[in-house]
């Protein structure tokens, strides 16, 4: 069996490879090429070397967006994972209606980002109106708005992954620890967490890359207001590409930098957390 799989590997992989090439590799390479050119539409590009990259990095808006994104990512990764883990712990106890709760917590993840953004904009503005301000009065409102929105959307999803991980922890190990007199917090620290490390790897990866790449929610909730102070990297790239005539190449250069950043951060994180995973 193994032998014939090896033999026909090319046959089975070919359709996927072709599709992958058309939908990913070619546009990706084209995108990198375009980042070194000046163009209005992709058909008439003029090579200009590293000019776009220099422009991108001397662009204050890009640096602001980078700073804002990093700040947002750190905080949202922390809060989402902590809350999701706590919820998962609660919902793996033998409580009544855990399945109903799990479903409810998971549901926000099914709503599209643009819709979520507009709904939360209404909610936030409804509350802030009472104090005579709006979401766009100050960048801090937008920042915390995004954090709350992101938490609301992703906690349920991450919770499901943690629930699966926690349920996989062998009962006998926990029981043995308990008989040996380990306290609850000790069991959590020395038994449960090491054993759910694979789930933590996945959840960290998902929240990290999702927060870094956030676009729809950002666009719908604040659109960068006030004065682009709350625009994140993806939104800044979009605005550069479509909003500024003659800056298409710069937008493309920003996008390449953005890709490299997301890939790098995600890889480093994967390597670090993978190392902490243990076999059970």
């Amino acid at each position: 069996m193994e032998k014939s799989i090896k033999k026909y590997f090319a046959l089975f992989a070919l359709p996927t490879i072709i599709a992958f090439g058309i939908a990913f590799v070619i546009p990706f390479l084209l995108g990198i090429y375009l980042s070194f050119t000046e163009f209005t539409t992709v058909n008439d590009a003029k090579w200009i070397g590293f000019g776009n990259y220099i422009k991108a990095f001397s662009n204050q808006e890009f640096l602001n967006a980078l700073g804002f994104t990093v700040k947002f990512t750190v905080l949202s990764v922390l809060t989402i994972n902590v809350f999701a883990f706590i919820l998962a712990m609660l919902l793996t106890r033998k409580l009544k209606g855990t399945n109903v709760f799990r479903t409810i917590f998971f549901m926000p993840n099914l709503i599209g980002g643009i819709v979520l953004g507009y709904i939360w904009q209404l909610i936030f503005n409804g509350i802030l109106y009472k104090f005579g301000v709006t979401l766009t009065s100050d960048a801090t409102y937008g920042f915390w708005g995004l954090i709350i929105l992101m938490n609301w959307q992703l906690i349920g999803y991450m919770m499901i992954i943690y629930v699966a991980g926690i349920q996989n922890v062998p009962k006998d190990i926990v029981e043995a620890a308990r008989i040996d007199g380990a306290s609850r917090s000790k069991i959590l620290r020395n038994v449960t967490i090491p054993l759910v490390m694979p789930s933590i790897t996945i959840c960290l990866f998902l929240t990290l890359s999702n927060s870094f790449k956030l676009f729809d929610q950002n666009l719908a909730l604040t659109a960068g207001a006030p004065s682009k102070q709350t625009s994140m990297l993806a939104l800044d790239i979009y605005n550069t590409f479509y909003g500024k005539t003659g800056w298409e190449g710069v937008g493309q250069a920003k996008a390449v930098v953005f890709f490299a950043l997301v890939a790098l951060i995600a890889l480093v994180q994967l390597v670090i957390t993978r190392r902490k995973e243990v076999e059970n």
Partner: protein, 460 residues
């Protein structure tokens, strides 16, 4: 057996490749036959990328009608509000690119230069009643305006009459038509705010919409006034747009005039200044239509937005225009701001047949009886073509008002914002206005941002 498997596998791969190739090839074949048809003397086709979502349905009706009459296929695609440039950018790089698209004046022309066909020899250009309205470069004509529009302060005459009938009004004039400068306007507005409960309104002006993408009435239309006067002072040029295009820097020397009217709008409004960041143009048009506000700054295109609001209480004959007075010297002679930013262009990279078909379609639309009826009655355009008779002007109250104001012995304010350096400039200024309204920035900072952004965007 082994061989059979091998061949089976090979056949599978082959068939897959064939299917894929066929999938890709099909399109080429089609377009090849299309081109073949066209070059063998058949009609081309038209692809019109429409700019105005509010009239998309009418264009589709026109397209169907034209196709029935001439057999030429007209495809109309409409970009959602505020996404025209985005849409155009992606559509025009496709193999079936728009043949008719729109540029927004000289600045937009610079971006699309490589794609615009010279229209100097077309009948369409010869129809223009004022040839200077077209976008030109050197000898060539690259953009044809198709609609003249005007904007100013729209007011509800019923509320104004009610105010002037009050026994304790603080001003000496007795009708809105007597307002002809900023001081009078201010006196009236402030007195009306003081008596707003008696008048049954929530504020004199509808909300000053400053949400992202909704600030064009201020960062473009209102900013037009101080810059129009600034460029008018530059006597080297015979036209404020040309003077603006040549200005690498601006002084923004009438910024205090801008501040005058902007403050008047925000301080006498339905909505508190700090909440303006969440208001849209549609909100303010609804406030006007529902009678919550007496005045709103907008153009004649806003008629449908007023008319279509559920529970609309404003009668058509009560809707009137007032020029935007800012406190400029001699503004008694100032009229509405009249101009256009809608220019039709033909894609120079489309096939010759399609170009001809597109020009023919536009000529039909603006000169045939049927086409003109659509333009006047359904699209509601005040078309700048000599093919239109006096009786073929639109009948909605705001368009009528624009025509009436143009006939008065006043100087219309030209749409100088065609010379604004970029969308980016407008948006940065709009954001600064929001921060000023919310109290996070001083007026001096806004002025500095205005000047710096202009300089930076022009330098590119």
């Amino acid at each position: 057996m082994k061989n059979i498997k091998k061949y089976l596998g090979l056949m599978l791969v082959m068939s897959m490749v064939v299917v894929l190739a066929a999938g890709c090839g099909n399109k080429e074949n089609n377009s090849a036959t299309n081109d073949g048809n066209a070059s063998s003397g058949k009609k081309g086709s038209v692809y019109f990328l429409n700019f105005k979502p509010e009239i998309a349905e009418i264009y589709e009706k026109i397209a169907k009608d034209y196709e029935a009459e001439t057999g030429v296929k007209v495809k109309v695609v409409t970009a959602a509000a505020g996404t025209y440039e985005t849409k155009l950018k992606s559509e025009i790089s496709k193999s079936e690119a728009p043949t008719i698209f729109q540029i927004n004046g000289p600045v937009g022309f610079q971006a699309w230069k490589d794609y615009t066909l010279d229209l100097k020899d077309t009948k369409l250009y010869s129809y223009l009643s004022d040839k200077s309205l077209a976008v030109t470069e050197g000898e060539g004509v690259y953009g044809i305006p198709y609609v003249v529009e005007g904007y100013g302060i729209i007011y509800n005459d019923a509320i104004m009459k009610k105010y002037f009938a009050l026994a304790d009004k603080a001003v000496s004039i007795s009708s809105t038509t007597e307002i002809n400068n900023f001081d009078t306007l201010k006196a009236v507005v402030e007195d009306m705010t003081a008596k707003k409960d008696q008048l049954g309104i929530k504020g004199v002006f509808a909300s000053t919409s400053l949400a992202a993408g909704e600030q064009w009435r201020w960062q473009t239309h209102l900013a037009n006034l101080p810059l129009y006067y600034e460029f008018k002072d530059n006597t080297e040029f015979d036209n404020t747009v040309l003077a603006g295009l040549a200005s690498k820097e601006v002084e923004f020397k009438y910024n205090d005039k801008f501040k005058n009217i902007f403050d008047l709008y925000t301080k006498n409004s339905v909505t508190k200044e700090s909440l303006l960041g969440s208001k849209s143009v549609a909100d303010s048009m609804a406030e006007f239509a529902l009678g919550n506000a007496a005045m709103v700054q907008n153009g004649n295109w806003a008629w449908s937005q007023i008319n279509d609001v559920d529970g609309n209480v404003v009668k058509a004959e009560e809707i009137k225009f007032l020029p935007i007075y800012t406190g400029m010297e001699g503004e008694e002679k100032q009229g509405l701001a009249v101009g256009t930013e809608n220019y039709l262009a033909i894609n120079s990279k489309a096939s010759a047949e399609n170009q001809q078909a597109s020009i023919a379609f536009l000529e039909w639309l603006f000169s045939s009886e049927k086409g003109k009826a659509y333009v006047t009655n359904d699209l509601g355009f005040i078309a700048p073509f000599n093919t239109f008779e006096e009786s073929e002007k639109p009948a909605d109250p705001l368009a009528k008002e624009v025509s009436a104001w143009m006939e008065k012995d006043l100087t219309s304010v030209a749409w100088t914002f065609a010379a604004f350096p970029s969308e980016e400039f407008k948006n940065v200024f709009g954001d600064a206005l929001l921060q000023y309204a919310q109290g996070n920035k001083t007026w001096d900072e806004v002025v500095t941002i205005f000047k710096d952004t202009w300089k930076a965007e022009k330098a590119k």
